[in-house]
């Protein structure tokens, strides 16, 4: 591509809107968004009512208030979009709202299930839902702030290296810090803990590094598109251009080593590969990247016992159903018991599934809503990712294309890794399901991701500025003759 950037993208669009005739008024899209958000709120409230009814909780007007306040919060987000990104895709926010709301209901539902459970060490379950509601509010606040202050996504490109540096620090920090501040939880060292408050910097690193790679690749893409040697029908890149790929590979492997976090390692590697491919338009990078991935994965499997355990549990979880295979076995039982139509919201047994409100939330959804419900949730993700990708396709600047494509892919790929792991399609690696899982950092980072996607989509769908008055054309006869390239 690489079409010249039209300068009007960043300018306040409201004026462009009002002055240019012939474009659909943006209020129509915005109203569609509001209706979809209302629909999402109704689904979420309905889900909450079902959970409460099935769990024999008293049904009070409080639930309606909860539903209304959820809708209120989403309306604020909607107004922010309407104000600061009026042309943005109206589907993106309702998808996120639905997923986030459903996630909150599931987290609350799991709280109810865990109330009766007493842990062997004498402690009892502490409810996660109130915390997650607070995180949702904070995330939406950050979302509005991001929309307001980032009026043009291309500004980010200017700080590419800064973001890259911050991203690397965020990524490696938990791995290198001592364990009193970066404790190892469930075998992965990916948390920074400050008393009761803990964050997962890797979630932010995902976005920071994506911004860096996008801006870096846009600047240097000429270097990568220059052909190297042609081997076996592949245009191999020149050795000196391999730098970023090697760097990405090194980052991926070092996450695996330092933090034992296979999921993030896989996620980063996949994102870098996709960005590289989109920027260079060369399949050779993909082939090369996958080869390096396979080498890294094989080496990791050879060297690290925790990788071997994961692979073993993937191949045959029933070999050790009460030990290392426990999680995946319980997840499969939940999914299988849910069957086609599920046990009903509130009718399942999420207390049987470990880490039900984080890594395995998809298994709980699969149990209570069945295959139908799980498929619906997956399709909402797919709609979100595809609409994001569409924004990338139609935005006019290369940085926006690269970043938008990367963000959309990141959500889809992250979902693939976690749901694939939970359903035994691929080895289980612990990462969150975007918007659904419990976890403040994840929610915060993913809402920033949405803000960026909305910003790119806003730029993509903004009406072009009124064309400058055309210079008076000379008569055809007075034109130059031009050399035309012969079609290949």
């Amino acid at each position: 591509m690489g079409s010249p950037v039209t300068g009007a993208d960043g300018t306040p669009l409201a004026t462009a809107n009002s002055t240019s005739p012939g474009f659909r008024p943006s209020t129509k899209r915005n109203t569609a968004e509001l209706f979809m958000l209302a629909f999402a709120s109704i689904i979420v409230t309905g889900a909450l009512i079902l959970v409460e009814a099935n769990q024999e909780q008293e049904l009070t007007m409080g639930i309606v208030w909860l539903g209304l306040s959820f809708m209120g919060v989403m309306t604020v987000a909607h107004l922010a979009v309407r104000r600061w990104a009026p042309n943005a895709d109206p589907v993106l926010l309702p998808c996120v709202g639905l997923l986030n709301g459903l996630g909150l209901v599931m987290i609350h539902r799991i709280d109810l299930a865990m109330e009766d459970v007493k842990f062997p060490n004498g402690t009892t379950w502490s409810d996660a839902a109130p915390k997650q509601v607070a995180w949702t509010a904070i995330s939406l606040l950050l979302f509005c702030v991001a929309l307001k202050f980032l009026s043009d996504h291309r500004t980010l490109a200017r700080y590419g290296y800064t973001f890259g540096f911050l991203g690397l620090i965020a990524l490696v920090l938990p791995g290198v810090l001592p364990s009193f501040i970066a404790p190892e939880i469930n075998g992965a060292k990916i948390w920074l803990s400050f008393g009761a408050f803990s964050i997962q910097p890797g979630e932010f690193a995902k976005i920071l590094l994506m911004v860096f790679f996008a801006s870096f690749l846009v600047q240097k893409r000429e270097l990568f598109t220059a052909a190297g040697r042609r081997v076996l029908g592949l245009d191999l890149p020149r050795a000196r251009d391999l730098g970023p790929l090697v760097a990405a590979w090194a980052v991926g492997v070092s996450i695996m080593v330092l933090q034992k976090d296979l999921g993030s390692s896989l996620l980063f590697f996949g994102i870098v590969l996709v960005l590289l491919y989109v920027a260079t338009e060369r399949a050779a990078w993909v082939v090369l990247g996958l080869t390096m991935f396979c080498v890294g994965a094989f080496a990791g499997w050879k060297v690290f016992s925790h990788v071997q355990v994961r692979v073993q549990n993937w191949l045959d979880p029933f070999a050790d159903p009460s030990g290392s295979g426990y999680q995946i076995v319980q997840s499969l039982f939940g999914l299988g018991t849910g069957g086609l139509f599920g046990a009903g919201l509130g009718g399942g047994r999420p207390d049987q599934i470990p880490e039900a409100n984080t890594d395995f939330i998809a298994a709980v959804i699969g149990e209570e809503l069945g295959f139908v419900g799980l498929a619906a949730v997956l399709l909402v993700y797919m709609v979100f990712a595809m609409r994001g990708l569409r924004a990338a396709l139609s935005v006019r600047d290369t940085f926006g294309k690269l970043l938008g494509g990367g963000l959309a892919f990141a959500v889809a790929f992250q979902l693939f890794i976690i749901v694939g792991g939970v359903t035994k399609l691929i080895p289980m690696t612990g990462i969150t399901a975007p918007f659904l899982s419990k976890g403040g950092s994840s929610l915060l980072a993913n809402y920033v991701l949405v803000a960026l996607l909305l910003r790119i989509s806003d730029a993509a769908r903004a009406p072009k500025a009124a064309p400058a008055p055309r210079p008076q054309q000379p008569a055809i006869a007075d034109q130059f003759t031009v050399m035309v390239e012969r079609p290949k």
């Binding site: 996709v274 299988g336 018991t337 069957g339 699969g366 595809m386 290369t398 749901v419």
Partner: protein
């Protein structure tokens, strides 16, 4: 750049399709395997949270019911008068499973029994919560409580049977336990109760002594030997050994009568007197004269050696032992050596004699009632065997009436003729220094028997070495008979 972005889009679609295909495989194709896997605790938990059927006594008094709760398991099992009925009902615990009838009739009570199949199908269609069936017992709750009160302070068992039908009117065992604690939805309460009940010094409260324990029957076994003699052609006037003490051939160990007392004229006595005075020498020689085949044959007609006896609680097998040598046969004749009976079987011996020789199958469950209160199944009285000719049974009855006249101990009833036999069974490695078990088997009224009882008091209760069946067990038996006959 749009071409690679579109391809990334296709890759994303492929990932979603893979997830959906795999979810289909797990939730539709493999679902049944996972659902039914024995490691899947959901099946069990579902049964626990289903409305379990009730256990009701013969007069419709509920002895095991359910209470609705607000917690996860939804229904709490409750036992009215728990300790008195525990040997019958057993227990129902989420942690420790089931015991007693709760175990034996579990399929029915939890609703998965085939006899409730039609009902289950209609539940499935109408969406009604499945319920378990109820069972009505033959137990007379007033009698059960009288028997339980009679055993207060001692370790033992009382069984009462209606001779004409084989219905078990009472079945108690002490010390007992309260199954309510094991049914608690608080795992800590369950655990505490379980550990207390299974502690080494707890006195085995969970042992159902009526059917799970076997004891030497002592002199009560003389009823079986006398039956064998009558069946062999003897009458009540047949002369048998009346010496105060004998030495069985092949041993130097003397076999004396109780307190070395004389029977008849000191050389011979009538069979009736021998039974009435419980002469050991008479029955030891009688057993030897009959031989082990005739003894075994007669015993089998009363239900000995029946390994499949179920009421539907499984009943421990009563047996005469191998009778390997002559002294063993002598000792067997007086209910010692290797003879072992359950209190239930000893009651069956009395009931069979009371029913003029016809042995009825013992029954504990009278009716099976579907959740809609329709009767699914009703147990009819079942003749199993003809243990004695009616005339022989009448003779034996008359001999037992004489025995009752010779039996000391309190609680004699006015206006009721009881036919009975006591037993004082030595046991332990040093029999002389071990407190004997006290027995009393009886039926009444002798002319037209309505109830047969067997009373066992382990180690003679608090009467110590001086304990006899007459002193310790007979008053309890008479009280139970009095409660039944006087309570109408």
């Amino acid at each position: 750049m749009n071409t690679p972005l579109r391809r990334v889009g296709i890759a994303m679609m492929a990932m979603f399709l893979l997830l959906l295909a795999n979810a289909t495989y797990v939730q539709v194709i493999k679902a049944d395997d996972y659902r039914k896997d024995p490691l899947n605790r959901r099946v069990l938990l579902d049964q626990y949270s289903r409305e379990r059927g009730r256990i009701i006594a013969a007069d419709d008094t509920p002895i095991a019911a359910v209470e609705k709760t607000t917690d996860r398991l939804r229904f709490l099992r409750t036992y009215a008068d728990g300790p008195a009925f525990a040997p019958v009902t057993g227990y129902f615990s989420t942690t420790y499973g089931t015991g007693g009838l709760e175990h034996a009739e579990d399929d029915l009570l939890n609703g998965s029994d085939d006899r409730l199949f039609a009902r289950r199908v209609s539940d499935l269609i109408t969406g009604r919560d499945p319920k378990g069936g109820s069972i009505q017992l033959t137990i007379d709750p007033k009698l059960q409580k009288a028997a339980f009160d009679g055993l207060a302070g001692v370790t033992g068992s009382v069984v009462a049977i209606r001779p004409s039908t084989g219905e078990i009117l009472a079945m108690t065992s002490t010390p007992s336990y309260d199954p309510n604690r094991l049914a608690s939805h608080d795992p800590a309460v369950q655990e505490e109760a379980w550990e207390e009940l299974n502690a080494p010094d707890s006195g085995e409260p969970m042992l159902n002594r009526s059917v799970d324990a076997i004891y030497p029957p002592g002199s009560t076994f003389k009823l079986v030997v006398a039956s064998a003699a009558l069946a062999d052609g003897a009458t009540k006037d047949t002369q048998v050994d009346g010496r105060p003490t004998i030495k069985p051939p092949g041993t130097d160990v003397p076999l004396p009568n109780f307190n070395d007392s004389i029977c008849g004229n000191g050389v011979t006595a009538t069979l009736q007197e021998a039974l009435a005075k419980s002469c050991n020498t008479a029955f030891a020689t009688l057993a030897n004269d009959l031989g082990k085949d005739k003894l075994n044959k007669q015993a089998a007609k009363f239900g000995f050696d029946d390994k499949d006896l179920e009421i539907p609680l499984p009943v421990a097998t009563s047996t005469l032992g191998p009778m390997a040598d002559t002294p063993a046969i002598y000792q067997t004749g007086i209910g010692q050596r290797d003879v072992r009976v359950t209190p239930l079987l000893n009651c069956m011996v009395a009931a069979t004699i009371a029913n003029r020789g016809t042995r009825m199958a013992p029954q504990l469950v009278k009716k099976i009632i579907a959740p809609d209160l329709s009767i699914v199944d009703e147990n009819k009285p079942d003749e199993v065997d003809e243990a004695l000719e009616p005339e022989q049974a009448d003779t034996l009855r008359d001999m037992m009436v004489e025995s009752e006249k010779n039996t000391a101990g309190g609680g004699k009833l006015n206006g009721v003729t009881i036919a009975s036999k006591t037993g004082t069974a030595e046991h332990g490695t040093n029999a002389r220094a071990t407190k004997p078990h006290a027995w009393y088997v009886a039926f009444a009224p002798a002319e037209k028997p309505e109830i047969a009882v067997a009373v066992l008091v382990e180690n003679g209760g608090d009467a110590g070495l001086q304990a006899t069946g007459g002193k310790v067990a007979a008053p309890i038996g008479r009280a139970v008979i009095g409660a039944f006959l006087g309570g109408r």
